[in-house]
């Protein structure tokens, strides 16, 4: 039952009990009043009887009509009082005595009137005396009757008064008892309610305090089935939820801690890996530095080797070529035709070998970025003429028409030797790969650039070979023709040199009809990065 219901119920109960108490008080006082009323009425009646007695005496003495009327009137009043009293109490003895008193008075009056009548009739004296005697007797009887009536009435009144007293005493006792009982009852119920609520509240307070201290597994036990139970359940539920939350949080915290530990481990591993990597990088760097030093040393050795090669290889070759020339010139005496022919072959081969060595050295120099350009002004016309002259003999030998077309004298600022190298290579190729027809060399100036084109009517180049034209060691083999002498480095080297000079080289060809190589370079060399 709810506390509110309990309190409401107990309040209603208290009101009911107090009402009962009040009602019983009312009831008892009513009963007491009734008894007291009875007593008063009867008392009043008794006093009235005494007055009636006096009136009767006065009437006997004076025999006045007025007194008779007074008596009658008093009798009526008393009769009314008696009637009222009779409503409360059985008073037939008093009633009959009272009526008997009235009868006596009537008899008295009648007797007096008879005597008056007798007086007027002048009846004998004895007759009159008899009435007087009778009157005396009636009066005596009346006095007796009145006395009796008064005694009776007083008795009744006394009785009623005593009963009222008794009622009052009993009533007091009952009221006292009732009051005590009700008080005890109310106190008991109140204590019970307070006790049960207090117990629950104590339990709740204990629980709340324990929860507050973090003892969340505590269970509030409320035996009462009221709001405190609901409250306790709510508290328990709350504590359970909080415990759950804390547990979840703890789990989460644990998970987080675990994760942090893992992360730290990973970090540690990463750091270790990083350190190891750094050590490795250091080692590698050291090795690389060492390798670099070795490479530099190697490079220096290579450069030395190249320089040495260029000198050491060339010196004997120069001798071979020189002495072959001396013999061919007949400086060492006459030689036969066969000897001339064979010595020419020696000389050509030696020349070829020299070109080969030069090309190889050039290539390695260019690839090592060790080419030093010598930039200065030179006359292109002179250079072209030199080139033209140097191939004149070879062209004549093959019965080729070699022509040089140059409309203006051009002063170039560039590397003369390298420029010549490229043009020589192009013309040399043209002569080499052309069996009949002509070789046209044209020089044109366009804007700030010079265009040197070498066109031949030679064997031409197949389309599939065009793209490997400027690659290293690409030799063109023509079916049914002997392999033409060459290093396979000529165009590759030319391309490299052209790049160095900031120019372009381009090839156009139709297989079987001839080729045209175009070398374009700036009038004034500006440093280029290759």
């Amino acid at each position: 039952m709810k506390i509110r219901t309990k309190l409401y119920a107990s309040a209603i109960l208290y009101i009911g009990l107090i009402s009962i108490l009040a009602l019983s008080l009312l009831f008892f006082s009513f009963r007491e009043r009734k008894e007291l009323d009875k007593s008063e009425l009867v008392n009043e009646f008794a006093k009235g009887i005494a007055e009636l007695n006096i009136l009767a005496d006065e009437y006997i003495a004076y025999k006045e009509k007025r007194m008779e009327q007074q008596w009658q009137w008093k009798y009526m009043t008393l009769s009314e009082i008696l009637e009222k009293a009779e409503e409360l109490i059985e008073l037939h003895i008093i009633r009959s005595a009272f009526e008997s008193l009235n009868n006596s008075f009537s008899f008295l009056t009648t007797n007096y009137r008879e005597r008056q009548e007798l007086l007027r009739k002048n009846v004998p004296k004895e007759e009159l005396e008899r009435t007087i005697l009778l009157e005396e007797r009636i009066a005596a009887r009346m006095r007796m009757e009145a006395q009796k009536l008064i005694t009776l009435a007083f008795d009744v009144a006394e009785n009623s008064r005593q009963r009222a007293n008794a009622i009052q005493q009993r009533e007091n006792l009952i009221l006292l008892f009732l009051s005590i009982s009700i008080s005890v009852f109310i106190a008991a119920i109140t204590f019970r309610i307070i006790g049960s609520i207090g117990k629950s509240i104590d339990e709740l307070i204990t629980g709340a305090e324990r929860f507050g201290r973090g003892q969340l597994d505590y269970h509030i036990r409320v035996t009462a089935k009221d709001e405190t139970a609901v409250l306790a359940n709510a508290f328990n539920e709350m504590a359970k939820k909080i415990a759950g939350m804390i547990e979840t949080e703890q789990e989460y915290t644990l998970k987080l801690e675990k994760e942090i530990v893992e992360r730290k481990q990973i970090q540690e591993e990463l750091r270790k890996a990083h350190d190891e990597l750094e050590v490795k990088v250091e080692e590698r760097t050291k090795k690389l530095q060492e390798a670099n030093i070795k490479l530099q040393e190697f490079d220096r050795l290579k450069s030395m080797f190249i320089a040495s090669m260029s000198h050491e290889l060339r010196t004997p070759l120069n001798s071979i070529i020189g002495f072959t020339g001396i013999i061919l010139q007949g400086m060492s005496g006459k030689i036969t035709e066969d000897q001339r022919k064979e010595l020419s072959m020696v000389k050509n081969s030696a020349h070829h070998l020299l070109v080969l060595i030069n090309d190889v050295i050039d290539v390695s120099k260019i690839e090592a970025g060790k080419v030093e350009l010598v930039i200065e002004e030179f006359n292109l016309a002179d250079l072209m003429q030199e080139v033209n002259d140097s191939f004149k003999v070879a062209a004549d030998e093959k019965d080729l028409k070699l022509s040089l077309e140059m409309t203006e004298r051009l002063i170039i600022k560039s590397d003369e030797r390298r420029t010549k190298q490229v043009i020589m290579n192009l013309v040399s190729n043209a002569v080499k790969f052309t069996d009949r027809g002509e070789i046209e060399i044209k020089v044109k100036k366009k804007d700030e650039r010079v265009k040197v084109s070498v066109a031949d009517t030679g064997i031409g180049i197949k389309k599939e070979n065009m793209e490997k034209l400027f690659k290293q060691f690409s030799r063109i083999y023509v079916e049914g023709k002997p392999v033409v002498e060459g290093t396979g480095l000529g165009l590759y080297l030319s391309k490299k040199v052209v790049d160095l000079l900031g120019g372009q080289i381009k090839a156009e060809s139709e297989f079987g009809k001839g080729s045209r190589f175009t070398f374009t370079f700036p009038l004034k060399y500006t440093e280029v990065k290759v």
Partner: protein, 119 residues
């Protein structure tokens, strides 16, 4: 008879040069080092000097410089014998006072013709 000073350390090359020159009727003075070349050039006053660039002591360029410094009257034509591989040798040779240059290898057919240009 014109006299030509050949400054050349390589014995074979020296022989080659003097062989060609002698067969064409020149008198050859031989110097086997730069120092010797300078000394002989000043002392003998040849009609022409053939100067190899790569020499064991002072190189041909230095030797040319010294010869030019010592000269009071007139200039002896000094022809540098240059190597193909040494980029800039010709230019350097001209800049230090060489009159011309002949690129190795020596061609017996054209050698004399080239020399005669400077005499």
């Amino acid at each position: 008879m014109k006299r030509i000073l050949v400054v050349e350390d390589n014995e074979i090359n020296m022989y080659l040069c003097s062989r060609i020159l002698k067969s064409s009727g020149y008198e050859v003075i031989e110097a086997r080092s730069g120092e010797e070349g300078v000394e002989l050039a000043i002392k003998e006053k040849p009609d022409l000097v053939l100067m190899d660039i790569q020499l064991p002591d002072i190189d041909g360029l230095e030797a040319t410089k010294r010869i030019r410094e010592s000269e009071a009257d007139g200039e002896i034509p000094i022809i540098a014998l240059t190597s193909y591989a040494m980029a800039g040798d010709k230019e350097k040779a001209i800049s230090v006072g060489c009159t011309g240059y002949i690129e190795k290898p020596i061609n017996a057919e054209t050698f004399i013709a080239e020399i005669e240009k400077y005499l």
